[in-house]
């Protein structure tokens, strides 16, 4: 069932919180280096789909393969290790550790992967420069603007050279100018690094930065690749 050449593919995912179904037979796939937008009204199950794809939440049923490995059969530790090594994350807000400086925040995924502090700081600074926020390096997240903070978050998502970046409403808390810039930098950096991006959004203008889009409605996905 996995579409040929896909990096991450899900088929017939189901997940319920209590008695409310969040995903009701969702299928999805993303190819290496591809930017896919997940659209849909709020409450449609977009975020749950993202959490399932990223191995944060275990679906109740369905198959989930990443690079040929069965994700749904993995232990928590294996999934954590996968998230550390192969995935990156950008959320809407509240994702930077407030007591760490922006540089330390960006270095965090590298440190989690066991990179030495100095080396991690060097790489992190490079990414801050690429995202044009190297002036925030020594500041704490509380001291930078929302747009800057979100760029720091993008830098953090990309710093460990992940294969997939999961972005959940990355511009939700930003004005359109800042939002556009963040999207531009995110998709540009991801494309140049060959990183796939799964982009959850309800804004069409943000989704327009993708190569392809799918729509989630009532926990079901309309993915043209699966459409018969």
């Amino acid at each position: 069932m996995t579409p040929a050449g896909s990096l991450l593919a899900a088929h017939d995912l189901r997940k319920a919180y209590g008695s409310t179904p969040a995903l009701d037979g969702a299928s999805f796939s993303v190819h290496p280096g591809e930017v896919v937008a997940v659209l849909g009204p709020s409450g449609s199950g977009k975020s749950t789909l993202l959490h399932c794809l990223a191995g944060i939440v275990v679906p109740d049923s369905g198959t989930l393969t990443y690079a040929g490995r069965d994700l749904s059969g993995m232990s928590d530790a294996e999934r954590s290790s996968l998230r550390r090594g192969d995935f990156g994350f950008v959320f809407q807000f509240g994702q930077l550790v407030p007591e760490l400086t922006c540089l330390e925040n960006v270095a965090l995924p590298l440190r989690l992967n066991g990179v030495k502090r100095k080396q991690a700081a060097r790489t992190a600074l490079e990414w801050l420069e690429r995202l044009e926020v190297d002036d925030t390096a020594a500041k704490r997240p509380g001291e930078v603007s929302g747009g800057q903070g979100q760029r720091v978050a993008v830098a953090r998502a990309l710093v460990a050279s992940p294969k997939v970046v999961f972005a959940d409403e990355p511009t939700g808390a930003l004005d359109s100018l800042n939002g556009e810039r963040v999207m531009e930098l995110l998709t540009e950096s991801a494309r140049s690094a060959g990183t796939a991006v799964v982009l959850v959004t309800h804004e069409a203008r943000v989704a327009a930065y993708s190569d392809r889009d799918i729509v989630v409605r009532d926990g079901r996905v309309r993915d043209p690749e699966f459409a018969v």
Binding site: E188, E203, A204, R205, A207, A208, Y209, S210, V215
Partner: protein
């Protein structure tokens, strides 16, 4: 867009040949649809007739004859009046899309399929515009954004209509 006013405005900085005018216009405004020569000459002859421009001179370096146009005082006044006059917002009432949705409902076809198809088409165009915006200069970005915002508005309408299809069906086909 009023091509006459735009060409007049371009002439305000100095007299130009018709070809020159077309090139400048295309560069600045005509990414989607470059002006046709015929359109330039038709417009210029209308402006000449109305006394808004005058022929500044004729050149022919062995080739075809080329007129140089210059703006008149009446023309300058006209440009000023055009710029200061607000454009009438377009209400887009009774759009084609609405008609399609109603017809789909009336004829028992899938209205939501129609909406989805339209959404895909809109998004495809938005993706193209976004791509162009990313590669282009500031002028490109502003022009594309204008279109993108309109398309986004359409998309919102598509989404809202999608959520209200059941309601709509009851109203028009009880």
């Amino acid at each position: 867009m009023s091509i006459g006013h735009t060409l007049l405005g371009l002439l305000e900085s100095g007299p130009r040949h018709g070809y020159d005018l077309k090139r400048t216009f295309d560069e600045k405004f005509g990414h989607d649809r470059p002006l046709h020569y015929g359109q330039v000459y038709a417009t210029m002859s209308r402006l000449l007739k109305n006394g808004l421009v005058e022929v500044d001179g004729v050149e022919s370096d062995g080739g075809p004859e080329r007129k140089r146009y210059a703006i008149t005082d009446a023309g300058i006044t006209d440009v000023g009046a055009w710029l200061s006059r607000p454009e009438k917002p377009e209400p887009y009432l009774q759009s084609t899309l609405y008609a399609k949705v109603v017809l789909a409902l009336l004829t028992g076809r899938s209205a939501s399929g129609l909406l989805d198809a339209q959404r895909s088409e809109h998004l495809r165009l938005m993706r193209v515009l976004t791509d162009r915006k990313r590669k282009g200069d500031l002028a490109d970005q502003l022009i594309c954004d204008y279109a993108l915002f309109h398309l986004e508005a359409d998309l919102r309408w598509l989404e809202l209509t999608g959520a209200r299809l059941d309601q709509l069906a009851e109203v028009i086909a009880p």
